[in-house]
């Protein structure tokens, strides 16, 4: 069996010969660290960060990984064209205020690897939405690289799972408006406008997915990115999330079902528990990456509550890979218990970060493959 068959079989409660060693990718800084330590070449460190790339597969092979989860392809689902990225101001300490492609003003400090802090944002009212954003949220045929999908079924790597990108119903808009801007619009300034933005964006993404599927390309799963939760749960009320988003998940997922795609995965960091109901009842059935280590998210309670309809990829505390063999062994034991429930593929609960020990990753991949399902 190959990694694709193993992952898909597990997510369909079918037998496999062994557990696949699945990961979520690498922080660029980790690869640089490994290059400094002499584990990999600098060239590999520069290129292996791209999911699905030949270089990443080369590094995966060295470490013993079978595949990455979440690798998906599709149309361009964001603003198109994006705003021109420009430096608005450089402060005396070298910090730059930069307007990004989404229209958010970020503060970027040289030498610091972090999520940038958001200073300001453009999308504040209807006039700006209609003049600057609405034209960028339309479906046009240019969003789809038809050439790429022409011989996709013949040329794709058939040994690893590849999904169709389904976009993001709320997460992209969080990126466009910022958490603060989104909150002001939704709860005080213009809730109707915010709902209209959600609907407009979702319509464009639906058409993108529709056009991608119409090419005849076949996919193993559908994949969303949301990142709409944090340590204490969702970034907005579950009721409002459901009201704004449920119909869009349903419509997009029903379209996938028509094309035989029954595995719909969703990448959301943080504690996701309160949003699972909306996702699951509207066709999203794989929770990923189930961040246990950083945020304390859990898979077992969801399985108890929703039964076998809910599937999972993730849930392995990646911080164990920075510690020692005993910490990894404890995670392997926990993964064994989760895997025994079926419909669950262990995977580090986010991209591997700086400080991760090369030899512990090799040890983990060896051990995880020993799990019988």
């Amino acid at each position: 069996m190959n990694a694709r068959e193993r992952c898909l079989n597990i997510l369909h409660y079918k037998n496999v010969d062994r557990m696949p060693a699945v990961h979520f990718g690498y922080w660029k800084e980790l690869l640089e660290e490994w290059a400094e330590q002499g584990h990999i070449s600098k060239e590999l460190a520069n290129t292996a960060v791209v999911d699905g790339s030949v270089a990443q597969k080369e590094l995966d092979k060295i470490l013993g990984w079978d595949c990455v989860w979440g690798y998906s392809v599709g149309a361009r689902l964001g603003l198109m064209p994006t705003f021109e990225r420009k430096v608005l101001e450089t402060l005396p300490d070298g910090t730059q205020r930069v307007q990004t492609g989404t229209g958010v003003i970020e503060r970027i400090k040289p030498g610091i690897v972090s999520i940038p802090s958001e200073d300001d944002y453009l999308l504040k009212d209807r006039e700006i939405f209609e003049t600057l954003y609405l034209p960028k949220m339309q479906y046009t045929p240019e969003r789809l690289n038809a050439e790429f999908f022409k011989n996709f079924n013949e040329t794709r790597d058939k040994t690893v799972p590849i999904g169709i990108s389904l976009g993001s119903v709320m997460g992209h808009l969080r990126d466009i408006c910022t958490v603060v801007g989104m909150s002001y619009l939704m709860y005080d300034e213009d809730e109707d406008l915010f709902a209209e933005i959600v609907d407009t964006y979702a319509e464009m993404q639906y058409k993108c997915v529709e056009a991608t599927l119409a090419t005849g390309a076949e996919f193993d799963f559908g994949h969303y990115w949301e990142d709409i939760c944090f340590k204490n749960g969702p970034l907005l009320s579950p009721e409002l999330f459901d009201e704004l988003c449920a119909k869009h998940y349903k419509r997009r997922n029903e379209l996938c079902h028509k094309y035989g795609i029954d595995i719909i995965s969703l990448d959301c960091d943080g504690v996701t528990e309160k949003l699972i109901e909306t996702w699951l009842t509207n066709g999203v059935n794989v929770m990923f990456p189930i961040e246990v280590g950083t945020w304390g998210d859990q898979f077992e309670p969801a399985r108890k509550k929703y039964g076998e309809s809910i599937l999972g990829v993730g849930g392995m505390d990646k911080t164990a890979l920075r510690k020692d063999k005993a910490a990894v062994d404890a995670e392997i034991e926990r993964m064994k218990r989760l895997a025994s429930m079926g419909g669950f593929v262990p995977c580090p609960d986010h991209r591997l970060m700086p400080g991760t020990k090369f030899e512990l990753v090799q040890y983990y991949t060896e051990e995880i493959k020993k799990i019988k399902v």
Binding site: R107, I108, K109, I112, V113, S114, I115, P116, S117, V179, V180, M182, S183, Y184, M186, Y187, D188, F230, K231, N232, G233, P234, L235, L236, S237, T294, W295, T319, M353, P354, G355
Partner: protein
């Protein structure tokens, strides 16, 4: 309905414009600024409790805090004139190497909503900057925030810097953020870890009181 209740209720709904108008009305009617501030603070108290209990989410806190700020801006000069004192003083920042500030800003808002004076050091704050600010500005509490597992270790350096400066007994160190936990707090020798912004504000008030603010 009393204007103070109206202020409190509109603040809870995040209606910044209305809160500002009501505060101005109260000032014009000659009400004691401290009493008007009480109306704002009582509204933030309700929001903070609901946030702790999972009844409201970040957006509700953000809009309420904005409404609070708009009202408080009108009151500030009047409170200064009357010689009113804050219930304590804290300095807050995201630790060195980390630029993420949503959590830090939320904590700051909740603390201001509790009547504390907050010195905002921004992001990427060095341990020395935390400690020097606490000394120079007589802060009772240093609040450190971190989003990343790679930067949370700096919180331990803040504790060490406070020890090195000889002020560890005079200043309490409160930590929070995505990767932080009670165990980590104990490990680095900080005083308190809180799970959310509203709890951080409650604890900061208690710590200031403990230190006799």
């Amino acid at each position: 309905m009393s204007i103070l209740i109206e202020i409190s209720e509109n603040l809870q709904k995040g209606k910044a414009k209305i809160v500002k108008e009501l505060v101005q009305q109260a000032i014009d009617a000659g009400m004691d600024p401290q009493e008007i501030l009480g109306g704002l603070l009582s509204g933030m108290d309700v929001v903070g409790e609901k946030f702790k209990n999972g009844e409201v989410y970040i957006p509700e806190v953000l809009v309420a805090a904005r409404a609070m700020n708009q009202g408080a801006t009108l009151l500030k000069p009047l409170l200064a004139e009357s010689g009113a004192v804050a219930s304590g003083k804290v300095c807050i920042g995201t630790v060195q190497g980390d630029l993420h500030d949503i959590g830090k800003n939320l904590v700051k808002m909740m603390m201001e909503g509790k009547g504390l004076e907050v010195v905002d050091l921004g992001t990427d704050v060095s341990p020395e900057a935390f400690v020097n600010t606490a000394i120079e500005q007589n802060c009772q509490v240093i609040c450190c925030s971190a989003l990343l597992t790679t930067t949370m270790g700096v919180m331990g350096d803040v504790v060490k810097a406070a020890e090195a400066a000889g002020v560890r007994e005079k200043v309490k160190i409160l930590i929070g953020g995505a990767p932080v936990s009670d165990d980590f707090c104990r490990e680095i020798g900080a005083d308190c870890y809180t799970v959310d912004a509203a709890s951080a504000a409650d604890v900061a008030v208690a710590l200031c009181k403990e230190l006799g603010a």
